[in-house]
Amino acid sequence: MDFNHSEYRQMLVDMLGRYLNQRYSMGVRHGIAQSDAGWSAEHWAALAELGVVGALFGEAVGGFGGAGFDIGAVFEQLGKALVVEPFLGTLMAGTALAQAGGHAELLNEMIAGQAVVVFAHEEPQSRYDLRDVETRVLETADGWALTGSKAVVPQIEAADWILVSAREAGGISLFLLGKMVAGVSIRGYPMIDGGRGGELILEGADAKRVGSPGEAYAIVEAAYAAGNVALVWEAVGIMDVLKAATLDYLRTRKQFGVPIGKFQALQHRMATMALEIEQARSAALNAAAALGAGRLERERKAAAAKFTIGKVGTLVAEEAIQMHGGIGMTWELPLSHYAKRLTMIGHQLGDEDHCLARFIALGLGPEGATA
């Protein structure tokens, strides 16, 4: 048992924390998040240069990390600074590409910060059901053409390539898509928690095949497991910030002549919040540790962690605002933005009810056959 990062990983964490602290202040972050682009190519390049993208992937594909705790360590820091750049999409697309095999050059470009690839899997009707894919493939003279819709893809406008799933051969296949190809249109929009996302509409768009036809479901699951580990650690980073900010407020804000942190009712609620955050951190540790394990263990721990984060995240976001009072609802205070992001993490890749149902289904039958 050892709950400390390795020396190397700790160095990365410190370096990333320092960078964000010095160069990615809340003012800078808001500027980026509200900009037309919704992300900063400059920071992206600088962070890739620092090795932050490389830390998300294993040595086999040119990275120098890729374990659950590497992903967790990076996203915890990203959460603390509310970074909006396309790390999640990169992680998920890169994980899928690595699992599919090949694509060494593109992965190298991703790790070097020269290419942004995002993962477009969910569809307007799918609501977290990873098997629900309606996008269709047609074989053409040159290759394959895709038709369908993909929903709420974070930072899709920032992408050079989009990894897209489609139904084929009784299963799911993956394809790489260039943004500028005919038949591809993107409806971009701001997200309520900052940065941008978009809907992808495909009308016979030319695409390159990735991996074997109809066999990508396992790859999708693996990419989502990595994405879930990232999100739960991002949430842990955010919750620590919210807790610290709320404690600070309770110590300094005075009403009735004393700091409001002297009121026992708030103290006990705060104790509950602190306790729940530690439970959430443990859930995140479990999910990170299980990312390299067998499918059932990995998926159950990911579902448990995402469920826990969904439940605790709502509590922490709501209590942090409530204990701050009106000021907690203002744009000016970073708090409200952390609360928005934390809440929206609960809407990404699977919500509380979905994750609980999945956890239950994974517990039934051999290897969670029904999930």
């Binding site: 969910e122 307007p124 009707q125 609501r127 977290y128 059901d129 629900d132 929903a151 709420v152 409806r187 929009y189 701001p190 997200m191 309520i192 928690d193 996302g197 809907e199 005075k254 009403q255 009735f256 002549g257 009121f263 009712a265 708030l266 709502t314 709501e318 605002i321 409530q322 009072g325 009106g326 907690g328 609802m329 203002t330 744009w331 000016e332 409200s336 933005h337 609360a339 928005k340 809440t343 929206m344 809407h347 990404q348 919500d351 509380e352 009810d353 609980l356 149902a357």
Partner: protein
């Protein structure tokens, strides 16, 4: 024991419904139902329609242009208008200042201000909270010093809803520093156009401007704008809180919001079936519906007690707590119902005249904003922590 309204009251309900059917503009109801933003003109339009019908000031006596309704009538009116998705009456003049003036104002103040509230000449806002005086309102510092036939006001108010629309503000100001803090507060009416007043927007977490800070620098207010006696303002401010409030639980608004949630939960699909039939979501909906049904009856009980002359101070606190909790749970479930489509935020889609196509389901755009915005319900108007203190003292006597 009888939980039903009288036939007369039911007849009144029909009258309200007919009125709403004829007079409530579909454009306004549609905006309210779908949580779009109301403009100042929208609010003024509904105000004028109610005024024309004589139904604007339903907590005022008839002699001042009010309806003279019973508590039951007021409750029915509240519920029916909310269920029909009528805009909420902007409360500061009609609901808050009006009753105070009627009870404590001078004849001249009543003669001058009450008609102007009704006909919309004045848009009032409220100057109670200060940066250092929130839950602990009595610690307010904004000072008014008598100087001849004027008061000179210096200080700051905050969380002033629609302060940027208002031409008048009613303020609690400190006129005495000695003694108990409650005993040095006065109730002052101030023209927002007086030199020395500055209104600064507070932007909320949805990026929008609804509340304000108001700064006073040597603002000269005619002494005739003092309501009642100097240093008795706390009594007048509290009057509103102890005055029977039939609508504090927001039953009608919650019923309407619950209907809209059901609409969405039936339209959303999960695993190919309506989300409303998913066991977990159905359980969340059912719990909420039961809570709401229970609160409806609790509200009627408070109403009946108030009708028998019992001032339901602490019961109002229960209604405030549970009412806001239920309303927040409705907005939380609506947010949950959307799944991934809670994330896109097309702010323009919340305003009238938006021409773009919706992202995801047509009802999605305002949902997450509405959820975040409604966090205020348990904070403003006496936070739920303050309400628990009231229950502790007034009902539990601890």
């Amino acid at each position: 024991m009888n939980l039903d309204f009288t036939p007369q009251e039911e007849a009144f309900r029909q009258e309200v419904r007919s009125f709403l059917k004829e007079q409530l503009p579909a454009r306004l109801a549609g905006k309210v139902r779908t949580c779009k933003r109301l403009s100042k003109q929208d609010m003024e339009q509904w105000h004028a329609i109610l005024h024309a019908r004589g139904w604007l000031a339903n907590s005022w006596p008839e002699e001042w242009g009010g309806t003279g309704w019973s508590l039951a009538q007021r409750y029915i009116f509240d519920v029916e208008t909310a269920m029909a998705c009528a805009p909420r009456i902007v409360p500061f003049g009609v609901m808050m200042l009006g009753p105070v003036l009627i009870k404590y104002g001078s004849e001249a103040q009543k003669q001058y201000f009450l008609p102007r509230i009704l006909n919309g000449s004045d848009w009032w806002c409220q100057g109670y909270s200060e940066p250092g005086a929130g839950s602990d309102l009595a610690s307010l510092k904004c000072a008014a010093i008598r100087d001849g036939d004027h008061y000179v006001v210096n200080g700051q108010k905050t969380w002033t809803t629609f302060g940027h629309f208002a031409n008048m503000i009613f303020c609690l100001v400190r006129t005495k520093k000695e003694g108990k803090p409650q005993e040095g507060i006065s109730f002052l009416l101030i023209d927002m156009n007086t030199p020395g007043i500055e209104v600064r927007p507070i932007i909320l977490l949805d990026g929008k401007h609804e509340v304000n800070e108001v700064f006073f620098s040597d603002v000269r207010v005619p002494a005739g704008n003092l309501v009642g006696e100097e240093n008795k303002g706390w009594t007048y401010a509290k009057y509103l809180l102890t005055h029977e409030r039939t609508n504090i639980a927001g039953i009608g608004a919650s019923m309407a919001a619950f209907e809209w949630l059901l609409h969405i939960a039936r339209a959303q699909k999960k695993n190919g079936r309506p989300l409303a039939e998913d066991p977990y979501f159905a359980a969340r909906l059912a719990r909420l519906e039961i809570d709401l049904e229970n609160m409806k009856t609790t509200n009627l009980r408070v109403l009946a007690a108030a009708g028998q002359g019992v001032a339901p101070v602490a019961e109002s606190s229960m209604l405030k707590i549970r009412g806001t909790e239920i309303r927040q749970e409705i907005t939380a479930l609506t947010r949950r119902a959307l799944g991934p489509y809670a994330q896109p935020f097309i702010s323009e889609a919340l305003d009238e005249g938006f021409k773009g196509a919706p992202v995801g389901p047509e009802y999605a755009a305002p949902v997450a904003v509405e959820y975040f915005n409604n966090r205020k319900l348990t904070i403003f108007g006496g936070s739920n922590e303050v309400q628990r203190e009231i229950i502790t003292k007034a009902i539990l006597e601890l």
